[in-house]
């Protein structure tokens, strides 16, 4: 969620995502659980990873689709094999 704060004549926009919203988002994005690890992977870390990997995965998929579309239109050469670029926006800037 986005909050707008006004201080004097200057307006400051601050992106503020509450822990509750992040937690809900994390649980929504937490995809199916695999077998448990033999060490503690950390609950907080797993929730965070679900959120982060979800967003990174969206960028990953989006770039693949763009590549496929571009190739289908014959406008560009096939993209080279290898790691895709990360999405431009870090998750804290997401609404």
């Amino acid at each position: 969620m986005r909050k707008v704060h006004q201080s004097g004549s200057a307006m400051r926009v601050r992106v503020c995502v509450t822990p509750a919203a992040l937690g809900i988002l994390g649980l929504v994005l937490l995809w199916e659980q695999p077998v448990a690890a033999y060490f503690d992977p950390g609950s907080g870390s797993l929730i965070y990873q679900a959120l982060l990997a979800g967003l990174l995965g969206l960028g990953f998929t989006f770039r693949r689709l763009i590549g496929l579309f571009a190739r289908a239109r014959g406008r560009t050469a096939p993209p080279p094999l290898g790691p895709p670029a990360p999405p431009p926006d870090p998750p804290h800037a997401a609404p």
Binding site: V35, S43, G57
Partner: protein
């Protein structure tokens, strides 16, 4: 009569129920427990093992089959042997970065073959022929969807200490000595400069990760599903996360400088004649002894380590200066055999036994003895710089190596004079005859060669 080989469990191999490591007459073996057998066979049948070994990411092994001397094991493996075990707190920044990249590459390959790296411990990486390689064959399990369970472990073992060492000071890699599972992300986050919040790698994988960890540590997770499904979406997420980590690790850079890198170029330490004589004598002795494992204590730029490696010895080049070690590592040609393994080590405070019961990670001494020690231009640093009695130094060296080439640096040497400039000379016994007396209980002096025109001399010693 020849006795049966004895099997000794390796103390550090107790965490993973999939298998355990043991030593049979000094040769490392790995037993695969029934709990790990299915994953192990899937790794073989899926083609992942071949791909990993083909890319030199994982040690190869011989499958010896079930062994009556290892009852209950599904099978016993004899992996490629590692001549010298090293630990992350002994690595330089480049070594830690390369180890991280190998781990990520293995995870990327594993996912393509329907499996995943179930742990990302830096202790599962060792250096073989100048390159990092995974040694835990049982670290792979079928990927049934879901997050990468080793994500936090990877960040703590690799990315966070690498970032901290590169950004603040390479000596901070020593934090891994204190925190055997890697420095906590919250601690690293607090130690990193504020500008690191503006860079995607530190922001995503350390700062926000650390805050999420502390904020949601007690939150319940959905119960594990008995039949989780691996979907293209879950694979995409894992791949995206791994690629993000890969880019973050590759983006870590650091300045390279060292106070010791010009040591041998320092005209006060050696004249060209003395240095040439030192090189000639050491080469001659190395050629005569032909050791297979050499430890060069205080290796500096690795000049003598490379000489030893060139004559066929696997050589470990220890130095206390992380920048020196890093510079040497960067000059090593991968796949050269034998090769030099540079490691960071403070000789006055060598690696202790760490972890559970102080045996999980071995002391320096328990990883020896080496066939030959090179102890060149070091005695004065320990005896005068650190007040170590010469008899104590000699007995320690005799425990580390069967033979030793030791350089004695007298008080008349400019380096020692400089060390004594600002302190009282309390070292009455620090004379060449005192040195020889101190050696006597621990070593037999085979030869002594003065390094004219300097007043230093080289000793060829044999441990009693």
């Amino acid at each position: 009569m020849i006795g049966r080989p004895t099997d000794t469990p390796v103390a550090g191999s107790f965490r993973d129920p999939a298998g355990h490591v043991f030593s049979r007459d000094g040769v490392i073996h790995r037993r695969v427990e029934p709990a790990g057998a299915a994953a192990f066979h899937q790794m073989l049948s899926s083609g992942l093992y071949g791909a990993l070994v083909g890319e030199r990411l994982l040690v190869s092994h011989d499958d010896l089959g079930p062994d009556p001397r290892q009852p209950g094991a599904a099978t016993v493996l004899r992996p490629q042997q590692i001549p010298m075990i090293s630990y992350p707190y002994e690595w330089s920044l480049s070594q830690l970065r390369d180890a991280a990249l190998v781990t990520l590459r293995a995870q990327q390959l594993a996912v393509r073959f329907g499996m995943t790296l179930k742990d990302a411990s830096a202790y599962n990486v060792q250096f073989l022929a100048g390159r990092p390689i995974l040694i835990d064959t049982l670290s792979f399990e079928p990927y049934g969807g879901g997050p990468w369970l080793a994500y936090r472990q990877f960040c703590q073992h690799f990315y966070a200490p690498l970032l901290l060492g590169a950004t603040r000071d390479a000596r901070l890699l020593g934090l891994s000595r204190q925190f055997i599972d890697g420095p906590p992300l919250g601690l690293v986050s607090s130690l990193l400069p504020r500008r690191s919040w503006l860079r995607p790698g530190p922001l995503l994988h350390v700062h926000l990760h650390a805050r999420a960890e502390s904020r949601w540590a007690a939150r319940d997770l959905p119960a594990p599903q008995a039949t989780a499904t691996r979907t293209s979406r879950s694979v995409s997420r894992i791949e995206a996360l791994t690629h993000s980590l890969d880019r973050a690790v590759a983006a870590v850079t650091w300045p390279t400088r060292s106070v010791w890198s010009d040591y041998y170029a320092d005209k006060e330490s050696y004249t060209p004649e003395a240095f040439a004589e030192k090189t000639r004598v050491v080469t001659d002795w190395l050629d005569r002894l032909r050791p297979s494992l050499v430890w060069d204590l205080g290796a500096n730029t690795g000049h003598f380590s490379k000489l030893a490696a060139g004559l066929g010895a696997t050589t470990v080049a220890f130095d206390g200066d992380a920048a020196c070690v890093d510079a040497l590592y960067r000059t090593i040609e991968p796949d050269a055999r034998p090769t030099v393994l540079p490691l960071v080590l403070d000789l006055a405070n060598p690696s202790p036994g760490l972890g559970w019961a102080n045996t999980e990670r071995m002391t320096l001494e328990s990883r020896g003895p080496a066939d030959l020690l090179l102890v060149l231009a070091v005695t004065h640093h320990l005896a005068i710089g650190n007040n170590v009695p010469l008899t104590s130094l000699a007995s320690w060296l005799a425990r580390l190596g069967r033979r030793a080439i030791v350089e004695f640096v007298p008080k008349a040497d400019p380096m020692v004079a400089q060390m004594l400039r600002a302190r009282a000379d309390i070292f009455d016994d620090y004379t060449e005859s005192g040195f020889q007396q101190a050696l006597d209980p621990s070593f037999i002096i085979d030869e002594r060669v003065p390094l004219a025109p300097s007043r230093r001399s080289l000793y060829l010693l044999r441990a009693r």
